[in-house]
Subunit: 657 residues, 2 copies
């Protein structure tokens, strides 16, 4: 049961698809303090809090302060408060009473979720603007709460099936030849691949909906050449539109008044990759349609997948603040700067990027109302991706288009997936990746994944291999790395065989993963589940933060520590361990409920099969998703019957209504 | 057996105390490549590499690139290459053959230890200057290798016994009254305390060997007042001396020519806390003696402990480079900065701090030779602390003086301890703290510890409690936090009782910890041992990265995950679990060799007593180390006999020759 409460006079964010009546009165179970703009409740010592999608820390969010404030900050350290997304759905579960409830806070401004941070016994939610729709979700189980909530917010985005293949990315492959070399090298190494991503350098000086024709001559033919060999090219689209006379996206946007404006009616000038740029007002329906249509520039050339980036929006500097900073800098020149002065100087320069003040300098036309950006900040990535998603129904009717975004808000899950942004080549980010997956699923984001191997910093071969032992289970499986970092394409490493085998295992798992993904999307279920969602009565299961159920049949437990040769695993039930070295080379062992230390060499992946369940595996050898033979499956069983398994199949590209 | 090899013509760093003949020929087992200035050897898949003291990553250092290049960088992320210290001793252990050897690379410039990073099977050591003494240490066991090496480098620093009490620090307690309030609050909360640290604000405008008389009137009387209540004040000393007419340290240094000079003979002007400053040339014996004598300014006022900071040396900017940067900044003004230009601008500003070029701008007078700083960079903190340590024998003859440093190099371990610098309030830094302890011990650094609760960022109550479950075992036990972070004094938290009990347990453990520390120092043993050092034949023990033996009797296994209610522990032998809620409230349980999941609530500390051993505990109630009654001990036994335990006692303050 879902009940809608309201504080203040919120906007309609169109994040939900079911219009519930607003229930009079205050949100039950919480103390509403309008003066301090906060909601507060006491937590019992054993209470667990789930949710908040893409955020730092554990599956259990207890013990930190999370701020919904979409931020371009690649250093996802555990003391950060905000990442790229705001997904304001939480579930509070009391193991003592077995009572749980969900709460969705539908408000697009800055919100603090203080989950037993300031006071270890108090959960408080505080607002800059005390305007929100509050949806209280009550049901008999954790899984049922998620199902009810997902019904409220509408069906999750469905990508083409080929998007379950491996994608290789880098900032940037600079030329068509470099892209060809990546494809060739994968093929030569015998490692399957379905996508190559084009980062910002495929464009002409970072202008959306252009192609650098020197580096990528006859782009349309190149797209076809790659598609003919089974590789989809996936270009990036940025939120900022370069200011440049003669550039049609810029000129049309100016002419039609579709860019975000300042109080004085002038367009905001903010710099990103191309230097000074304007932000399309994605919150304005007409601007959204206009920008969406521009994706046609690339779909006409055969492109069938995109990623939307820099849409928090990221700002290097605004022209207005840049002036202030250079004036400020002058006052430091020639000074003997001590601690205070020097920190002041550094702070001044640092204030250029993603400055909260800059988010107060411009406005949207939202449902006909002039709204200052900071009031609706967290919607920007959602509405940019909505622009694309709505356009695809016009540009590629009846077809699925790959789309995922960096910034997001609940509602966007209907138009695209998410990748979890610019992470780092840190072992700790394997675990962060794992912990974000179920939280994203709770909030409707089903097609998701992290930059495997890490985006920033230098990876190591063992890090990438171990990360893949998680990554082969994520719907979005992409290797991506930043300019200046160590090369990270899987064929670059010494132990090619291990990479070939582990990616081969992914492809063999696709019949299962795609079935479980599709069923979860269509039934509003989660693909990735914390152990506690399956075993809420098992006290030990409640605290497990490094294992997940993936679909109905299996549990995974990746190794995420350097130089480890195995790991501890808690089994909440008797299970069959499948230790895969490849899809065709594995051990099987029945393990009893309880704690186990399970050896796992660098080239081994641990899968635990549930009793009464089965796991289908396609024959190895497929180099592309399309080559997977779904008629020829091997069935791993553990007291389960293959004929009872509901295998989901479709053509993988037609839109599903 | 130790054999000394040589490449090039190294300086004499005085890091060793035994002068061995130089053995002709190349280092056996390594390929010497003088052209590429590197040493290389192949590693077997199972080889383990220990050592490198204070560095990132695991007890097993395999799989990363470590650069000896003392750096002021508080973000100790796992992809950093350099921290504050260079401790160039490694041990390579081959479990397959049971052969191990130690290698000490005595060279003060930049060195890369590429331990199976570039190639997963190759260990290479590369140099900027191919000049080094190489000490190959061969012995029958890992512990014996360390003992031999420690014999080479000389006896480790011994602090006063009161330095095993709790110290409270913050950047900064601004006035004497604020210090009194901290002491009062600890006493009121019943939490033991022995030291309060004075960070940079006790000085008059950050000038070494001054006291801000407004904030700390009659400092001598204040030191006495605090000492009368059993609290030692421990002031900070920085490496940079403020440039200020009339300030005697500055004027003397100029007059005597004791500051580091540039090529042209002028003193280098580098800014730190006080703004522009000069660096004393600690490598010059006369300058060292002169600077050391200045500690007398404070010892005369009753001070008996210090910490040396910013001695990498940290540089905010040099006057020369600052000019270049401001000139450079002008060229960006008014420009439309795109990706490349903007990153260039940011890079220019960032180049101010700790710029490698600045380390090439100044020179030392080292053994009468003019040496450019970068050639001997890693010695600076060592020689600053040596200045202090040598002075203390003159200023406080026959007495021990508390001294620890941020930057270090092997050799410094004879003059002071180390704290592991500006860490963060990250759960992952509990584990980093644990892993650095045995590596520091291998390199001679016995009195050491981390900023408990984390220096940077905001802590949480549970983080601090869990960190203390490790921190109560470290010789240096200090709570320290940065300006602007959440208050971190232990009495500030809600669950005062838990903090009182856990610190009380530390004080009860001091008879054991001090005995084990002193015996380890006097016998060149380690206080903290990886499990593999005790059980090199136990394959599982070889990979344990989150447990340590502490002295002869116990093993510790702190919980380091938020919201955990216990943890996995591997026992390489049958042990007795002591689960302490306080020194007088505990459970006992015999656990068999093997894997265990051991519950541990937030207020519980896990100690594992070895078979055939005993653990003495003093009666609780001591508020100061001096109050501990060593005559009245409770003995925990597990098939061991108290009368066989060698309790080390002394007056705790007299110097030991």
């Amino acid at each position: 049961m879902i009940t809608r409460y309201r504080i203040g006079t919120p906007f309609d964010m169109e994040s939900v698809v079911v219009q519930l009546p607003v229930h009079d009165g205050a949100l039950p179970g919480w103390e509403t303090d309008a003066q301090n703009k906060c909601l507060t409740r006491t937590l019992a010592k054993s209470d667990i809090v789930y949710g908040l999608g893409e955020s730092v820390r554990g599956i259990n969010k207890r013990g930190w302060l999370y701020t919904s404030n979409n931020s371009d900050d690649p250093h996802h350290e555990e003391t950060k408060h905000s990442l790229y997304a705001s997904q304001n759905f939480v579930i509070v579960f009391s193991p003592d009473t077995k009572i749980a409830f969900g709460l969705y806070v539908d408000a697009p401004g800055k919100i603090n979720f203080d989950i037993a941070y300031t006071d270890p016994d108090v959960f408080s939610i505080s607002f800059e603007d005390f305007d929100a729709d509050l949806y209280l979700v009550e049901a008999g189980s954790l899984k049922e709460i998620v199902r009810e909530f997902r019904g409220l917010i509408g069906r999750s985005y469905i990508p083409p099936k080929w998007a379950f293949g491996l994608g290789q990315s880098r900032w940037s492959y600079m030329t068509a030849d470099e892209v060809r070399e990546v494809a060739d090298s994968y093929d030569e190494a015998g490692i399957p691949l379905d996508m190559i991503y084009l980062d910002i350098d495929y464009m002409e000086r970072y202008k959306d909906f252009t192609v650098n024709e020197e580096a990528f001559p006859d782009f349309e033919a190149f797209v076809k050449e790659m598609k003919d060999r089974g590789i989809h090219l996936v270009p990036i689209i940025d939120a900022g539109v370069k200011i440049e006379e003669g550039y049609p996206v810029y000129e049309e946007g100016i002419e039609k008044g579709y860019f975000c404006k300042k109080e004085n009616g002038e367009e905001l000038v903010a710099a990103v990759w191309p230097g000074t740029a304007h932000f399309p007002d994605f919150l304005n329906e007409d601007a959204r349609r206009w920008f969406g249509d521009w994706y046609g520039f690339l779909t006409e050339k055969g492109i069938d997948g995109f990623w939307n980036d820099m849409n928090e929006p990221a700002i290097f500097y605004t022209a207005d603040h840049l002036k202030e900073v250079f004036e400020g800098i002058r006052s430091f020149e020639g000074k003997n700067m001590d601690l205070r002065t020097f920190f002041g100087f550094k702070g001044l320069v640092a204030s250029l990027e993603n400055n909260p003040e800059d988010y107060r300098r411009f406005y949207h036309d939202f449902h006909g109302q002039k709204v200052r950006h900071d009031k609706v900040h967290n919607l920007f990535g959602y509405y940019m991706t909505r622009a694309a998603g709505e356009a695809f129904t016009r540009l590629r009717p009846g077809k699925r288009t790959l789309m995922f975004s960096r910034s997001s808000y609940i509602g966007m899950h209907r138009y695209g997936g998410v990748w979890t942004g610019d992470n780092q080549s840190w072992w700790s980010h394997i675990l962060l990746n794992l912990r974000q997956l179920p939280a994203l699923n709770m909030c409707g984001f089903m097609y998701s994944g992290a930059d495997l191997g890490g985006f920033g910093q230098d990876c190591t071969e063992d890090l990438v291999l171990r990360w893949l032992s998680l990554g082969i289970f994520t719907p979005l499986m992409r290797d991506h790395a930043a300019m200046g970092t160590r090369r990270q394409e899987l064929y670059r490493f010494k132990n090619t065989e291990a990479f070939r085998n582990i990616v081969g295992l992914r492809y063999a798992l696709i019949p299962y993963l795609y079935s479980e993904f599709m069923k979860a999307v269509l039934k509003n279920d989660m693909l990735f589940l914390p152990l506690s969602f399956e075993f809420p009565d098992d006290e030990r299961a409640l605290t497990v933060e490094d294992q997940l159920y993936v679909g109905e049949s299996i549990m995974i437990a990746p190794v995420y520590e350097q130089n480890a040769r195995g790991r501890y695993v808690y089994l909440p039930e008797r299970m069959k361990l499948l230790r895969f070295r490849s899809a065709s080379d594995f051990d099987e062992e029945i393990l009893e409920k309880g704690d186990h230390y399970v050896p796992a060499d660098l080239n081994e992946v641990l899968v635990f099969l549930r009793p009464g369940h089965v796991l289908p595996l396609a024959a190895s050898g497929a180099r592309r998703v399309d080559e997977i033979n779904e008629q020829d499956l091997t069935w791993f069983t553990f007291e389960g019957r293959p004929e009872e398994y509901e295998l989901y199949t479709d053509d993988g590209i037609s839109a599903i209504n």
